[in-house]
Symmetry: C2
Amino acid sequence: MAKRNEEFVTHLADRSEDFSQWYTDLVLKTDLADYSPVRGCMVIKPYGYGIWENIQHELDARFKATGHKNAYFPMFIPESLLNKEAEHVEGFAPEVLWVTKGGNEELAERLVVRPTSETIICSMYSKWVQSYRDLPLLYNQWCNVVRWEKTTRPFLRSAEFLWQEGHTIHATREEAEEETQRMLKVYAEFCENVLAMPVVSGVKTKNEKFAGAEDTYSIEALMQDGKALQAGTSHFLGQHFSKVFDIKFLDKDSQLKYCWQTSWGVSTRLIGGLIMVHADERGLVLPPKVAPEQVHIIPIAMHKGGVLEKATELYDALKAAGIRVVLNDDDSQSPGYKFNDCEMKGIPVRLELGPRDIESSKCVLVRRDTMEKIDVSLDNIAQTVLTLLDDIQSNMLKKALKHREEHTFVAKDRKEFDEALEKKGFVKAMWCGCPECEAKIKEETGATIRNIPFEQENVSDKCVYCGKEAKHMVYIARAY
Amino acid sequence: MAKRNEEFVTHLADRSEDFSQWYTDLVLKTDLADYSPVRGCMVIKPYGYGIWENIQHELDARFKATGHKNAYFPMFIPESLLNKEAEHVEGFAPEVLWVTKGGNEELAERLVVRPTSETIICSMYSKWVQSYRDLPLLYNQWCNVVRWEKTTRPFLRSAEFLWQEGHTIHATREEAEEETQRMLKVYAEFCENVLAMPVVSGVKTKNEKFAGAEDTYSIEALMQDGKALQAGTSHFLGQHFSKVFDIKFLDKDSQLKYCWQTSWGVSTRLIGGLIMVHADERGLVLPPKVAPEQVHIIPIAMHKGGVLEKATELYDALKAAGIRVVLNDDDSQSPGYKFNDCEMKGIPVRLELGPRDIESSKCVLVRRDTMEKIDVSLDNIAQTVLTLLDDIQSNMLKKALKHREEHTFVAKDRKEFDEALEKKGFVKAMWCGCPECEAKIKEETGATIRNIPFEQENVSDKCVYCGKEAKHMVYIARAY
């Protein structure tokens, strides 16, 4: 089990002074990820990958429950395919990697490493779909993608990252629009109930939409430093790709029609979000539902008679109840060291058990979210721990919601807007809908319109930037 | 549910006349995979990917039960890293893809798309390991790899494929050797109990070992056409990589030592093996443990009162018992069409239910492995089906074992060897151990030494090729 060096459970940068360094310290010192010898590419270490496996497990069940099936498409896209949809290639070409040689030979046609898979998947869909009976196709793939960006940070923006991408085609616009919304809701529900990370659902402005989409919907989460994180997107692609890739079907009315299409994705970026929403000055705080290790049992005075035996008994009981539990019986570490390690790694519950506890048939549970210590009976310990894990999960969501509420500000005019931005957080403001105001806001403040939320409020009648008639309420923030 | 066109459930090439075309027909016509616009790269369609998900699920549980954790390493390897181990680069360089440009810029250093990950992983291990307390590291990753080969076939040999690669480092040679053997055993047990595919375990000759390994162990399966398929390998890497990548640790005795290393992998190739071991002239035959759909319920006279209701009731009962079941209630297809579809797709059990069955509270089960029809009571149907699935699973292994026994021949001399090869199958023969005889056999017959099995028999005293003193019994066959 844990065999970390002393120096690893010390020194985390001050969260309030240097949020960015605090984040990097957490990622590296809790063994979530490491830098690699490949520019901008990270290694996801087992502790970080364990979180990703739990995220995959939870999301995959939701995808299957909504009728989707997994498939796998090639990771390479021939240049001619990428070039078919003009807006799409313009959006992605500056940041793709080019494969030009195989062994010692130049390739007849250059290949890009997929930055996203619309084009390669469309080329197959056009082959597979003939009749309305073949529709809808509801496919998803779990894979790696690459965007060769200049500035990278582990999980938040890395050249290669892991994600899932759903790609569906439908007979009607309505069905495709419904699908786009359905998957955004799946993401929002997942973020709130599994990651304990509340999100604002809405539509992106035309300027911020996916290259090739008709509309892009997003979920936006607020980090503890007041910056926003786009946590997932769902695109209504209309018929843009189906017209270019000739994805046609013979409808019931014997007419040949172009399909309607969606795509949607979330990535390992969610792990970055998790950290920045929940962690504190002591280390990570992981929601029980995705924590690779939910409980650490730490025996005190481990070599006294009966302690390890009882600890093992508790381990077996928790494991049998489906709890992800670790018994830390490493005798090269002191209990105090192990407590620190638990705090740093964000283990939701640590269970301390010593000779006196055993005498009185109790143990101590320490919950990571509040650091509260609770004496509990050893009778029915598995149920006690399960209930506590549930409580931690819901308390973490409450806490994150409270933080968001306290850091969401309303701005009626430019002055209020500047003041709100200073306070760091989401700014709810009205927008006239014109791209010029949007661009000016970004240029002058570095903040961007995150989305036009589904839940509209009328906070004023005038655009926060130009003062002209307002069309939408928007969320504005600086963002990752 | 199934909405396949009529033409798809017809025309499979004759297995005995054109095994290769029969294989390709199966892959394409049962929707396991399709060709893509990228040379040598396949699309794994949902039905094929469903098999892979079940393989992953079963193997991953075995890896975790033996103490391994999953991680993720970058898919790109800088040229300088690949070049470090001479034998390794020589083995892989001719078939790697080179990434040379990012966006519009030439990369400062070329990258290869991983053909396997020893080098990138070693570069991290050298950073992570300092003390004997850090050992062993028992990591695995599920990922895509690329080998840019000239001749490709879906699942059997494709430019990009999916696999898992375990990479472990240890303090001692003994531990690493044990690990190498342990994982080969895990593979062999998995192949027999999950894929119903018996394998021969043994060590590869020096000539056939992995580029950079000290020893390569393999499991070899026999296909229905008498050709062998290498289904998995486990490599004892010795200290080759740890010396080149400087993976050293301070041992308990305060000495700095190089680590001992293993790597092991299986891939989507297993799906090709599954097909070629079990399928028949009617279509696929899938072992229940990996079949994405274990039972198809096919209602007869579907529109008569009560039939669909009863079918739905059975569906719910089977589903609740954890059976992967499909109710095919598509009214555009006749029952006969659905029967064909079941046979083609290798669904282990089809359940037929009509009005008269319901009257007498029974249904008909048809098992795909033997095509036997069985009348069974509807009482306790889930248990009946579970028992039948178990029986199919073990019967398929028995059948495959029988085929292998009937197609394994002993050859004491060159004449017997040529005769045995004519009969198509495994040839058990003695070998003097010299690479020249091995090369000559390959050159003259196209057959190769598959491995030197752990279970040795003394079938003769003399080398089957040169007649000199024999050292080992080997399995020889033409292979995929």
